[in-house]
Structure formats: structure tokens, C-alpha cells
Amino acid sequence: MNLLGLITLLLAGGVAAWAGERLKPGVSRWISLATLAVAMLWLAFVYLSWAAGSQTNALYAMQILPWIPRFGISVHLEMDGLSLMLVALTLFLGVIAIVSSWTEIESRQGFFQFNLMWTLAGVVGVFTALDLFLFFFFWEVMLIPMYFLISIWGHENRGYASMKFFLFTQISGLLMLFAILVLVYVHWRATGNFSFDYYDLLETRPEGDLAMWLMLGFFVAFVVKLPGVPFHTWLPDAHTQAPTAGSVLLAGILLKTGAYGLIRFVVPLFPEAALQFQWPAMLLGAVSVLYGGYMAFSQNDFKRLVAYSSVSHMGFVLIGVFAFNVIAVQGAIVQMIAHGFSTAALFMMAGALQQRLHTRDLSAMGGLWKYAPRMGVMTLFFVVASLGMPGLGNFIGEFLVLLGAFKVSVSITVAAAIGIIVAAVYGLLLMQRSFQGEPNDKVATMVDFGAREMSVMLLMMAALIAVGVYPQPIIDLADPVAQLISRGSP
């Protein structure tokens, strides 16, 4: 099997789940799980066979097939260390998403699983495609099933939220498509060949204002996805309305496609323009950190609060990427992984609470620890992780970003560091308003986490501890790309 096989496997797993559900209700989630298990085994096999081999080439898998040769479009898939980690995170969180919505989804289970798997397939494609046309294709593939996940299985205001999500992503995606086409045109003018291939376009190097505009076309598309202020407003609505699995995937992986795009495309394709744009981009990151954190503080809705906290945490990624030094870029990458776990866990918690209490309103909660101590401990853990406690993954990410950014701009670093204080304010307030305080008798029948939920929580907990005390594997895997972006600057 190869990369295309992996994507096809996920697509086929989705179709099989949908079909299987018609034959035997309840089977679809097992089909999805089995598909993901096979995919994970394949990934492990790829990594191990690389590790057992010469290890000279930091490329774990690659594949090129012709697709539309007339326009230089091919199915070019590659997996380097960064892609490997992100694909692994995608598959892992896919499992989490399925398990966390095991009993939540009651209608059209099969179609639900189909959309879930197709979203995952799209994301894997995004993380591995090195043909810009193919990349854009997958960018759209992951969007549409996600739109369905929100609009069909979402909560009370799902129509509005899903449309908003769709429009933001689609319009910004259009900018990117336009930038891609212009870039290909510039390449054609220079060489006489049509090519959408990443490595060909890397050589293109458009100049001056044109490079800046093209860079901005990509930048906006990715920052909308990240999301950075002021393009973040789709996120709280989409998250709040999405079913648990949707929120887990959105926060855990889809936001990372934005960060991935910045790292893989924006900086390498337009190095000079990106360097010129360093200050505004870092400023945008710092504003996201502070504004997202401050907005999180003012929320009454558990999910909205966590959604805004994502804006804040992803602001660190933006700062890290545009600091252009190894420490900060590595911090951004660790932050992507750690945030994937911590936020996915918090959204799972929000979903579990909503399923039990039929509300996300924090003012209707309080004192839940008494009835559900296991949920309380887990919430505490992930809140503490996301407010940047040393020893857990998020700390490494944020600390390295700040450490690297400090060399570039003291004021940006100070602003973002203040965001860490704000994170403590809203994080602990979330804990207080949900699980601590006066026990509320109305919720006395609440059921605590069972073995199924605890086991996935413990898995994510273990992952965050591992990243927190020994992040070296991530750093090593991401090293080539970090070197590339920072051009050797430590």
C-alpha cells in the first residue's frame, strides 16, 4: 500500500460504513474503527521500515502518478516527518471522534460515519499532497463532509453555523485557488511548462508586489482556517453547533491544516514576501492570543469558551512560524500536536456534558465534581494542560515559541506572554463554573465517565505527558522542515 492507497482506504471505509449500516444497524462505527486501525498499522509499518532502513532520506513515503498531464497536474503525494506526525494525529483523533460520539449520534449513523471518514481522507490528502492542484482538491474534500456533519447532526443553530463555516472557508479558499493559478502562470511564463508541482513552483520565486499579493492569497486562506483574528468568527459558531465528533476533528485537525499550510506553502514558496510580512503576521498572532483569550473569558457556553481558547492557542503557532528560527518553529509544531490532544479532550468533555445535562450553559452547571469526579479530574487535567503547565505538551509548544520569538521581537513576546496569564484566568474559571462550587441538585442523576470514555481520555493524557517530558521525537521528525523555514537561524 502507498499514500494514495491510504487515502482510498479511508474513502472506501466511509462508503463501506454507509453501506454496512443499511444491512446491519450499529455496524458502521465498527467499520470506521477497523479502517482506522488498518491505516494506523500501515503508518506504523511505514515508519518502522524507514527506521530499520538506512534512515538517510527523511521521506517516509512518496508517490507520483500522472493525472492531467496537459496542465502539469499529477497525483504527487509525499510524507516527510511533519506530514507523518500530522497524519498520525489525524488517525488518532479520528478514533477519538468515533468513540466520543459512540452513543451521541442516533439518526443516520451510516451517513455520519461516511462523512467522518471522508473528512479524515481529505485531511490526510491535505497533509500529504505536494501538487498544488491536488492540495486544493483535498482542501475542498475535507470541507464538504464537515459541512454536512455540522448541518445535519449539529445543535439548535446548525444551519447558520454550518453556512458560516462553509462561506468563510470557501471564499478564502477561492483566494488561494486564484493565487495558485497566478503562480502557475508565472511559472509557465518563465519556463514554458505548465506545472502544479510543489518542487517546480518552489523555483518560481515571483518578485516584488506580485509575490506579496500571492503570499497574501495563501496566507488569508490559511489564517482563516487557523483561525487568526479577525477571521476567527466562524469558529465559535461552528464549534458550538457541531456534534462532538465534528468539534474534535475541527479543533484537533482541521485548524492544523491552516498551520500546516503556512509552514509547507506560504514560507517556502514566498520566502522574501513572508519575511517582509513577518511583523504584521506576528502581530496578528499576538492579537489572536490576547483577543481569543479575552473572548474565552467572557463566554457562558462551555464549547464557545474552548473554541475561543483555540483562537488564542493557535495564535502562538502563527507567531512561531513567522519568527523564522528553529526554536520558535519547533515550538509551533509541538503546539499543533499538543493542542490537538488537549482541545480534542476538552471538546469531548463538552459533548459528554451536553449529552448528560442537555445544556452547554456554564451558569446551569457547577459542583459537578460531586456527581462525576472522574470527569472532574479529567477536565482539570486538560484545563491545566491547556493553560501551559510545564511537564505537559502545550507548555513545550508555547515556551519554545516565546523563547524563539523573543529573539525577534520583545514586544510581541511580552504581549503573547500576557496571554498565558489570561489563559489561567479563563481556564480556571471554566473549571470553577462547571465542576467546582455549590453542587446543583438538578443534575444529581449525572452519570460519570465509564471505561470507554476513560480509556480515550487516559490515552490523550498519556500523550500530553509524553510530549511534555520528552518532546524530542517530535522535534526530530520536524527538524528538516524547521531548518527549511528558519533557513538555519537557531
Partner: protein, 610 residues
């Protein structure tokens, strides 16, 4: 000495076991794990300490694993043992063990017994990482870890929202300082390219001349962290509220160990402060201001634990003061003796509070000395040491600080001496009101060995803990250990007599305690007392300047003003679409007329353009 890693490992293991069993253990097994892990840790510390001292070496390091290696930033989990960390380790494990034993009695029958000990064990682990870390990042791990445990334990009785507020306040206020400290670490790394403490200190000496602005900036940023953690001005407001936690927590975290972390940090990075007289003066001034302000406040408090809390702030103020005036070893010496007598005072207060069914108002106590003998004697000894009466442990350490401050600046000496007088005053007031006079609440003493034994051991330490000095510090701190400079005889006698004068004065003012109960104060004195009682109005100040505006703006913008930008686009689009839709009337003559008008306009344009 290779067993060094075991010292933090035992409490960590205790935490993991208690965490994994999710409170299913009974009180006895939970006590055995919670206090037992501390006992093993203290034993290991004693063993390692003995080996270290008898080996004659000054430094021992043990690398556990490399944390990460990224872009020249290579922190590792390395433990670093020298005289300073040895003293700290001894205090943490020794006093910590005694407090754990006491807590097994104090927390008996409480909900969340095993949760309590898991947090306590985690705290000790973090505190040990703080003092043993060879690297500022490992130190920071411990630093944040103790902050987390402090938060968890202040809010241990989390059903009461007020406790939750106190816990969050403690965490957030100290995090303001922590952030300053992190920035100091970034600056240090940017300039010297390392966060290894020893490498950074020698690098600093080699790189910067005395008084260089960079080193001043780094020292002041680190001081920011120290000020937050050690509850010094202007970040001191969290400590009195932190008394919401169970009393053993106050003894361990908010008296003996965590709050002295700031003192440790400055002593550990003393080379940076030596390079910057500005930073030194700042440390001394902050210490002086804090010890002065909080001694006055302690004099007016009515809650037994809050008296002790303000007293703790004041005593840590003395330690900062000592660091600032260059009495490095005396600062750490006072840290140790303070850990003994303040832990003793808190635990004795805990026994009183327990006997009175969680009554903390001293004016509802009184006449307890006959009934609560062990707590009474303990508190007496603790207060004597706190007031620094001659021959108690507190005397040896505080006396050194005061004497040294004379050569720094006689005005500083005078300020600290007035506060020393106040210390004696509020100690007498507390003893008099709590233990003498009319009995107002019937006590029920809990007689248990695990409640009494720690009090007895700590009483001995509070009395005799200062007799032998602190030899191991000599190799670490710049003043070469506890020095005995020749001071003028009148200064020595004068300084030693201040606490005695204070006690005598206090006796006349506060004895018999009835005098404190029925006092007719004038309005002016009352408002002054109210001002002092509130801790000099800092809480009100911060609430008005920071908390209220923060909340108000958050509330005003809760629907995210940025979103209205996009809503506006939608509104305009809808409005335009309606406008155009209105032109579709379905009437043929309307269309015909429009076509004619349109054609005319186009032709006109064509004519004009051509």
C-alpha cells in the same frame, strides 16, 4: 549520593498511586502512602545529605534525561546538589514529612482524604524539582507545579465558591510574577545562550560589567517571579486569602516551603544580583516595605490564620531584606528557622481550630491554655521564636539580618527594628487573646499521637534549630556562610533587646485580653484600623483598577465585535438583493420602460465617450 533521584521520586510515586486508585483507598492505606512516601523521601534525603557532607565535595549533579535539544537550547532533567539545595531539601522533606503526619490526623474523616494526600505529594515532588533543578527550565517546572498544587489545595473544599475564588486569585496573581520570570529567562537565554544555572551565572560574570542594564533587567524580571511566589509587594494580596485551604496546607505551602521559593531563587541566582546594585536595592526595599506593612496588618487581624499569614509575609520580607542588604546566608538561615517555627505555629493553630470545630476568630477563643496544653506550649515556643527572643532559633537568624542591615544603611536597620518590635507585639496579642482570659468556646481536644508528635518535634526545632548555624551554605553564598563581623557592643545588645521590649510592651497593652475585647475607639482610629485590617487597601485598589474594568469590557464585548463586521456584510448583501429583487415586478410595461431607459443611457454614454 546516587540515590538523589529517589528523593523526588518517592512523593511522585505516592501521587501516582493515590491518583490511580481514584480515592478508593481507605484512610489508613492512603495515609500510609501519603505520609509514608514522604518518610522514605526524608530518609533518603538524610542519607544523601550525610553522604554529601561527609564526602567533602561541594557539588554533586545527576543527569536523568535530556528534556529536549532544539536550536542550541538543550535543557536536561539534571539534579544539582550543593549546600543551598541541601538545606532546602532538608527543610522540604523534614518539615514536609512532619506536616504530612500531622495531616493524617487533621484530615481524618474529611471528604477527599486520598485526593488531599495526592495533591500534597505532588506538591512536595514539584518543590523538590524546584530546588534541585540544575536548569532554569526544570526550576520553572517545579515553580509552576507548586503553584498548581497551591491552587488545588487552597480550593480543596471546592464546594464553597469563596475558596475557589481564593485559589484562582493565588494562581493568577503568582502567574503575573511567573510571566515576568519567564521573560527574564528568555532574555538570559538570548544573551548567554543557556539556561543552565551555573553556566549562566559564570557567563554573566564573564560577560557583563557591574551595573550593566541587561543584567539589571534580568535580575529585576527574576525578582518579579520571586515577588509573586513569595507574596511580597506588590503581588502579596493572594496569601491572606490562601488561608482558605486546610491548615496543614497553610503550614507546608504557605509558610514553610513554597512561599520561600522566591528567596531561594534570588539566593540561587545571586551572581546576577551582585552585578546589579539597582536590583539589590530593589530586593532590600521590597523586603523592607513588605515586612513593615504586613507587621502592622498582622496587629489588627481577628482571624487566627490570617494573623499567621501576614506574619509569614512579614518574615519573608525579612528574608528579602536580608538578601538585599547582602546577608545572603542569614536569609537562608532565617528561611530554615522560619520553616520550623511558622510550621509549628500553623499546626498548633490547626489543633486549636480543630478543637473549636473550625472556629478561626480569635475573639471567640480565650482561656484555652488549661485545656489545650500541647497546642498552647507549642504556640508559645513558636511565638517566642517568631518574636526572636534570645536563644530561640528565630533570634539567631533575625539578629544576623538586623546587624548586617546596620552596615548597609542605618535607616534600613531602624525600619526593620520597628517591625521586629511589632512582631513581638502581635505575637503577644495573639497568645493573650487566644489562650488567656475568659473561655468563650468550649474546646474538644483531639488527642492523637499523629497530631501531637509533629508539634513536639517542631517545638524542639523551633527552640534549638538555630544553635548550630548552617555550615553547608559557606561554599555556595558570597558572604561565605554565616559571618560574625565584629559589631559595636551597643548595637548587638540593642538589637537583641528589641523583642524583649516588644514582649513587655505587648504584655501591658494586650494583657489581660479583656482589654482587646472592649475598646472604645475614636472614629479616626477605627478608620485607620480598618485600613490596616484590609492589608492597606491593596485588594480594593486592584479590584478597581484591574478586575472591574477587565470584567466590564469582557461583558460588553461578549458577542465579539469583530463578528459584527461580517454581519454587516451579510446585511448589506441582503439589503441590496432585496432592492434588486423589488425590480422584478412581473409587469411587462415596467420591463419595457426599463429597457428603453437603459438603452438611452448606454447610447448617451457611447456618444459622450466617443
Amino acid at each position: 549520593m546516587d540515590l538523589l533521584w529517589l528523593i523526588p521520586a518517592f512523593p511522585l510515586l505516592g501521587f501516582v498511586i493515590l491518583f490511580a486508585t481514584q480515592g478508593r483507598l481507605g484512610e489508613l492505606p492512603a495515609s500510609l502512602i501519603g505520609a509514608g512516601s514522604m518518610g522514605l523521601s526524608a530518609l533518603a534525603a538524610a542519607f544523601v545529605g550525610y553522604e554529601f557532607v561527609s564526602s567533602g565535595e561541594t557539588v554533586f549533579t545527576q543527569t536523568l534525561w535530556s528534556w529536549m535539544q532544539v536550536g542550541g537550547f538543550n535543557p536536561s532533567f539534571t539534579l544539582y546538589l550543593d549546600g543551598l539545595s541541601l538545606v532546602m531539601m532538608g527543610v522540604i522533606t523534614g518539615v514536609g514529612f512532619l506536616i504530612h503526619v500531622y495531616a493524617t490526623g487533621y484530615m481524618k474523616g474529611e471528604d477527599g482524604f486520598s485526593r488531599f494526600f495526592s495533591y500534597m505529594n505532588l506538591f512536595v515532588f514539584a518543590m523538590l524539582m524546584l530546588v534541585l533543578g540544575d536548569n532554569l527550565l526544570v526550576l520553572y517546572l517545579g515553580w509552576e507545579g507548586v503553584g498548581l498544587c497551591s491552587y488545588l489545595l487552597i480550593g480543596f473544599y471546592h464546594h464553597d465558591p469563596a475558596n475557589g475564588y481564593a485559589a484562582r486569585k493565588a494562581f493568577v496573581v503568582t502567574r503575573v510574577g511567573d510571566t515576568a520570570m519567564a521573560l527574564g529567562m528568555f532574555l538570559l537565554f538570548k544573551e548567554l545562550g543557556t539556561m543552565d544555572i551555573q553556566a549562566a551565572l559564570s557567563g554573566a560574570q564573564a560577560t557583563w560589567p557591574e551595573g550593566s542594564p541587561v543584567v539589571t533587567a534580568i535580575a529585576l524580571l527574576l525578582l518579579g517571579g520571586a515577588v509573586g511566589k513569595s507574596a511580597q509587594l506588590p503581588l502579596q494580596t493572594w496569601l491572606p486569602d490562601a488561608m482558605a485551604g486546610p491548615t496543614p496546607v497553610s503550614a507546608l505551602i504557605h509558610a514553610a516551603t513554597m512561599v520561600t521559593a522566591g528567596v531561594y531563587l534570588i539566593a540561587r541566582t545571586h551572581d546576577l544580583f551582585l552585578l546589579s546594585s539597582t536590583a539589590q536595592l530593589m530586593v532590600a526595599s521590597i523586603g523592607l516595605a513588605t515586612l513593615f506593612i504586613s507587621a502592622f496588618t498582622a496587629l489588627t487581624q481577628t482571624d487566627l490564620k490570617r494573623i499567621l499569614a501576614y506574619s509569614t509575609m512579614s518574615q519573608i520580607g525579612y528574608m528579602f531584606f536580608a538578601l538585599g542588604v547582602g546577608a545572603w546566608s542569614a536569609a537562608i538561615f532565617h528561611l530554615m528557622t522560619h520553616a520550623f517555627f511558622k510550621a509549628l505555629l500553623f499546626l498548633a493553630a490547626g489543633s486549636v481550630i480543630l478543637a473549636l470545630h473550625h472556629e478561626q476568630d480569635i475573639f471567640k477563643m480565650g482561656g484555652l491554655w488549661r485545656r489545650l496544653r500541647i497546642p498552647f506550649v507549642s504556640m508559645l515556643i513558636g511565638s517566642a521564636a517568631l518574636a526572636a527572643l534570645p536563644l530561640t532559633s528565630g533570634y539567631y537568624s533575625k539578629d544576623l539580618i538586623l546587624l548586617k542591615s546596620w552596615s548597609f544603611n542605618p535607616l534600613f536597620w531602624a525600619g526593620a527594628s520597628v517591625a521586629a518590635l511589632l512582631t513581638a507585639l502581635y505575637s503577644v496579642r495573639m497568645i493573650s487573646i487566644v489562650f488567656f482570659g475568659e473561655m468563650r468556646t468550649e474546646p474538644h481536644e483531639h488527642k492523637a499521637w499523629n497530631l501531637s508528635l509533629p508539634l513536639i518535634v517542631l517545638s524542639v526545632l523551633a527552640l534549638a534549630g538555630g544553635w548550630f548555624g548552617l555550615a553547608p551554605l559557606a561554599a555556595v553564598l558570597p558572604d561565605g556562610g554565616i559571618d560574625h563581623d565584629p559589631y559595636a557592643a551597643w548595637l548587638v545588645w540593642g538589637t537583641a533587646s528589641i523583642p524583649i521590649i516588644g514582649v513587655v510592651l505587648g504584655f501591658f497593652i494586650f494583657y489581660p485580653p479583656a482589654k482587646s475585647h472592649e475598646r472604645n475607639l475614636s472614629a479616626g482610629v477605627k478608620s485607620l484600623q480598618g485600613f490596616l485590617f484590609s492589608g492597606w487597601g491593596f485588594d480594593t485598589l486592584y479590584r478597581t483598577l484591574i478586575e472591574r474594568p477587565f470584567n466590564a469590557i469582557a461583558h460588553w464585548n461578549r458577542n465579539d465585535i469583530v463578528d459584527s463586521l461580517f454581519t454587516l456584510i451579510v446585511t448589506i448583501a441582503t439589503w441590496t438583493s432585496n432592492l434588486i429583487a423589488r425590480s422584478q415586478t412581473g409587469q411587462l410595461r415596467w420591463y419595457a420602460a426599463n429597457m428603453v431607459i437603459g438603452t438611452v443611457i448606454v447610447l448617451m454614454i457611447a456618444v459622450v465617450v466617443s
